[in-house]
Amino acid sequence: MGKRSSPSRRGIAEWLFLLLIGGIYVFLTLPSVLTIPISLGGSRSVTFPPTEFSLDLYRRFFASPVWTGSLVESLIVGAATAVLATLIGAFAAYGLARGNFIGQKLIGAILLSPILVPSIVIALGVYFYFSQMKLIGTTTGLVLAHSILTIPYVIVVLLSGLRQLDQKIETAAGIMGASPLRVFTHVVVPQLRYSLASAFLFAFLISFDETVISWFIAGTHATTLPVVMYGSLKVEVAPEIAAAATMLSLTSITIILCYAIFQKQEKSAA
């Protein structure tokens, strides 16, 4: 019915659809990249589009002990969290993928649950608990709390990596007398290296960006970059935020690119 007239109408519909998609893409990505031009616009007027080119905001950022201190703290916490979460998460993922024990499904669900529990609830609980343990405002406290938040992602990444491995190799190693731990360290880990690297990077990124829990437990001694940013955005917007935000954005871009490279490597290795 009406088949003859439909192609042109369909053309218009298609065109409108693509226009809409373009709009959605702008809406989705613009807020993530906008800080880069803003940060290069100089400190006299924080606007978009920038009226001049200057690295002034970065100079101000790196001249301020509050901003640089928080950046260093974020890097330390991110790296330590990534190490701890990848290590513990790798063991957990292997146990979940290959093990056979009581409550396996339930334990798997528990280990993934921090993704779905509102951060504010974890933040409040950790705040109460760390107050008593004297862990408020410590790097250790931040690393422990961030690890809980990142381990689920590590497990998800590694479980999908483990699914692609040939289990017969592990079985063969077992038959030849390797203990499960040795099978894990000598057979599984080397094959899983790209997934492990991805998990490590994402754990770092989640910790590096984490705001809510850090806001509650960072105190005055261990403030991370997002905590300083959030505090500043809440009260009065300091111009250095543009520089700080760009650093967060560039970290995200770098890590996504690395992930893409790892995936390609993994595919060509397989």
Binding site: S6, R10, F17, L18, I24, Y25, F27, L28, T29, L30, P31, S32, L34, T35, V46, F48, G89, F91, A92, Y94, G95, L96, R98, G99, N100, F101, I102, A109, L116, P118, I120, V121, I122, L124, G125, V126, F128, Y129, L144, A145, K168, T171, G174, I175, S179, P180, D209, T211, V212, W215, P226, M229, Y230, K234, A245, S249, S252, I255, I256, A260
Partner: protein, 289 residues
Amino acid sequence: MNDISEKRRRPVSGRARIPLDGFGFILPSLILFAAVFAVPIGYVVMFSFQTDEGASLDGYRWILDSNLFGRVLWTSVQIALLATLVSVILGYLLALFLYRLSPRKRAVGLAFVLFPFWTSILVKSYSLTVLLGREGVVNSTLGWFLGYNPELPLIFNRIGVLIGMSNHLVPFVVFPVLANLLAQDRNLGQAAAIMGASPFTIFRRVTLPLSTPAILAATLMCLIISFGFFVTPALLGGRTDVMLANLIDLFTRETLNWTVASAIAVVLLTASIVLVLALSRLTGQQKAV
């Protein structure tokens, strides 16, 4: 690391599973979770039932009596529902677009969804304050077309919160819906086309019904995330856009009433658990089919 699994030897059998359960591999994560996840949540539940004088239901009594809580709860429900609705529509359209691309182009298109997904919410919120202000990019661009700046109030109100939250939530819709669309049997659409159905009819009668489970899952996911939202309402909302998470922050840091803060957190946690259980039932059903 002396694992339990290491002590017991593996029997020589051809089984692919670790016969001695492999529980030792899980143990470190369980210890960490008990210490830094279960205990803290236990603290929240415990504190919600006690004041300085001892055990009490004052926190929950406050929740039932207070106008403030009722108002904030209603605000949270409204914002969560609206943000979810907007995100599901936008995310679905985007997934539909990506689905029709060639795998190579799809990877590129998907990268531009992944990038905002992995960008800090603070970065996005900050950019939105620059974009949406009275003198912001959106208003001045509109002003360029109109000849005067309309000074639309797009930020520090409900609209600002909704824009910020939808911006954050769209990727959470794109991923499950795209996975669903790609898993659909393309023959069904082709059969419908052969029988004379127009592309829109195929979408309405075949593609859309088949993707309902993914839409429902994405809806629940968005509700779970948005109901507990903290950063966006605080940075892009106005005085009347306080959500439950912000109320918890207020009672913890300003009012210093840990009992009420904990009781609100328990309400929020319970709501999340109900939504998560609905989600897991849904995805469980999908797998069973």
